[in-house]
């Protein structure tokens, strides 16, 4: 589906009937999805879907920094880590603090936001590859701190991570238990799915609105030409910090939800490869295009899981035994897919209008 048709289905003003029917179908499908998944392929797939939605959050957050403002960030997963640890430390037996999630999530977002500014402030004058190197270092610093802050005072519990993290609770309703309602069993992951879906809608709306606003235009101006942006009165320092802060806050919220869903976190979840994965989602989907980024995040989250469940049976059927580990195949196919992408759709699966025109012009210009 191209972006245009997608938009006509969602444009409630110019084509109300079609749009509302379209939205209703999408709504019902999304609402039924976890029940169908749990019923037919197992609750594991609901968990996989939830993690995929978390990665959509991350990709959308990174898209603000990379896609809108044009600041290449290779340490983005650090903000996810910060959000996750803030939640874990404030809602687990580790410090014996058990705050409710609606207090911790904003705290996590705020702390991640602070880290975003901490990263942004010293890198204001850097661009492109130089910025990428510094952000990469920042991501590693955060991870190494998490790994080693178990001495002399045990804050993060080091490589063992934090366990027994509280799930979300609203009153007596815990997101870990299964409830039965109207003959349907709503397990923990299914409830998280609905919550994530709700937050996802809010996040998408915020992103769309930011993009078409005074702030979004200022970010695009910085991406296009920083000197001209400043000469036009845009405070590039504040706008870049804002981009880092906004992106980081999204990461922080996603991290908090990750913590609550998993019940256990350790520094291992926040390695460099994860940052690269999120960046790949943004690039693969189409930098700067919100729908493209969502598509990229979903594809790259689901593909490895599909492989995990199919590689072994397929090999068993073909060769009678397992020749190549799923993990190896996964990286092989991932690399192959990226190479193909760069050859055939360099602007991403759903490129932003701008980026598409940019690349087209570059290719046309290259021809004599």
């Amino acid at each position: 589906m191209t972006e245009k048709t997608l938009k006509s289905y969602m444009d409630t003003r110019s084509n109300p009937a079609l749009a509302w029917i379209g939205l209703a179908i999408i709504g019902v499908a999304l609402a039924a999805l976890p029940l169908l998944l749990a019923g037919f392929v197992g609750t594991a797939w609901v968990r996989i879907t939830n993690i995929a939605i978390l990665f959509v959050f991350l990709a959308l957050g990174l898209n603000i920094v990379v896609g809108f403002a044009g600041l290449l960030d290779l340490g983005y997963i650090a903000f996810y880590a910060v959000g996750a640890y803030v939640y874990a430390l404030l809602a687990s037996p580790h410090f014996n603090i058990h705050l409710p999630f609606w207090i911790i999530l904003p705290i996590g977002a705020a702390v991640a936001c602070l880290f975003g500014v901490l990263l942004g402030a010293p890198t204001l004058k850097l661009r492109g590859d130089y910025l990428a190197i510094v952000t990469l270092g920042f991501g590693e610093i955060v991870r190494i701190f998490l790994n080693n802050l178990s001495q002399p005072v045990n804050i993060t519990n080091g490589p063992q991570g934090v366990t027994l993290i509280d799930p979300f609770r609203i009153g007596t309703l815990s997101f870990r238990d299964t409830e039965t309602f109207a003959g349907l069993a709503f397990s923990g992951p299914i409830k998280y799915y609905y919550l994530l879906l709700l937050v996802l809608i809010v996040v998408i709306v915020i992103n769309l609105r930011l993009q078409n606003s005074r702030i979004g235009r200022a970010w695009e101006a910085i991406r296009e030409d920083e000197v001209a942006a400043r000469a036009m009165g845009i405070n590039t320092r504040n706008m870049k910090l804002l981009a880092f802060a906004m992106g980081a806050s999204f990461g922080g919220i996603a991290g908090g939800m990750f913590s609550a869903m998993q019940g256990f976190i350790s520094p291992e979840s926040f390695i460099l490869v994860e940052s690269i994965m999120v960046l790949s989602m943004v690039v693969l989907g189409g930098m700067g295009n919100i729908w493209g980024v969502i598509l990229g995040a979903l594809l790259l989250s689901f593909a490895p899981e599909v492989l995990r469940y199919t590689v072994e049976p397929v090999q068993q059927a073909l060769f009678g035994r397992m020749l190549v580990e799923p993990e190896v195949i996964r990286m092989l196919l991932f690399g192959f897919a990226l190479v193909l992408m760069m050859l055939f759709r360099p602007a991403g699966l759903l490129p932003s209008a701008t980026r598409k025109r940019e690349l087209e012009a570059a290719t046309n210009g290259a021809r004599p």
């Binding site: 915020i206 702030i215 804002l242 906004m246």
Partner: protein, 276 residues
């Protein structure tokens, strides 16, 4: 009108209500003295030319004025207040907008978006306004778009509003840059070679546009190599050579100045001036 040719830094006359007063501006790049004690003053409502051979320091003066470079010495007083130490965005907020010698549009954004970005400094909506999209933000957005369309129309590129800036013809790009600068509601519009690369027809229509802008109340500072344009358009002219001021005064007086003619080695400019 007083025309202090070859004058030493003009003593700031307290009674003059200059819009922009530059006093003893100096800028050095390594061993090159790009600007040496340049003093000048621009009166409200005039079109003030800044000319000189290549490398004379014209663009350096622009960059120092607009805060892209810090001056090594000297000071600017704009609209009654000093500009010292301001960042480019603060200078724009104070009311000086500029264009660039090598066009610096936001190439991959539409013409309209380019001008809308120019409104940034005169509008308020922040992150929360953008996220909540409340009534005042929506009103502001509408006002921004309306003003941007109006400005595109004013400079004559409204029919290309939705085209990418980089796909506009060269002359239209120059005009779009002017529209973007005007969107910041400047008191002083600083144009760096707006007629460069234009043919005679385009230059003539640019000249009309600049007169309109002045008539509508914006003072213009103009760097230009097209002497015909400078002499027909500018009220007063500042001539730089090797970073030094060699003349300042009404265009007609400056073009007779022997120091100015000598600066433009070879005399083709002198011929041009006679032609004008």
């Amino acid at each position: 009108m007083e025309a202090p040719l070859n004058a030493a830094p003009a003593a700031a006359d307290p009674s003059s209500r200059a819009l922009l007063e530059g006093t003893a501006i100096s800028k050095r790049f390594g061993g090159v003295q790009a600007l040496a004690d340049v003093s000048f003053s621009i009166r409200p409502g005039e079109i003030y030319g800044l000319i000189g051979p290549n490398g004379a320091g014209k663009t350096s003066l622009f960059n120092v004025l607009t805060g892209i470079y810090d001056a090594d010495g000297g000071s600017f007083v704009f609209d009654g207040r000093p500009l010292a130490g301001l960042k480019p965005n603060d200078v724009a907020a104070r009311g000086i907008a500029r264009t660039f010698q090598n066009i610096r549009l936001f190439a991959n954004l539409s013409a309209l978006e380019n001008v809308m970005i120019g409104r940034h400094v005169r509008t308020r909506a922040g992150v929360f306004g953008a996220m909540l999209r409340n009534a005042s933000t929506r009103d502001e957005e509408r006002a921004i778009e309306k003003r941007a369309f109006h400005l595109l129309d004013y400079v004559g590129v409204s029919r290309r509003a939705n085209d990418l800036a980089k796909h506009l013809p060269y002359g239209d790009q120059r005009r779009l840059e002017i529209a973007r600068a005007l969107a910041t509601d400047p008191k002083l519009l600083a144009l760096d070679e707006p007629a460069a690369g234009m043919n005679a027809t385009e230059t003539a229509s640019l000249s009309r546009l600049l007169r309109d802008i002045r008539k509508d109340g914006t003072t213009i500072l103009l760097i230009e190599h097209d002497m015909k344009l400078v002499m027909s358009l500018c009220d007063r002219v500042l001539v730089l050579d090797y970073g030094k001021k060699i003349a300042e005064g009404p265009a007609a007086d400056v073009q007779k100045d022997p120091a100015v003619i000598a600066a433009y080695l070879g005399g083709d400019v002198a011929l041009n001036l006679k032609g004008a």
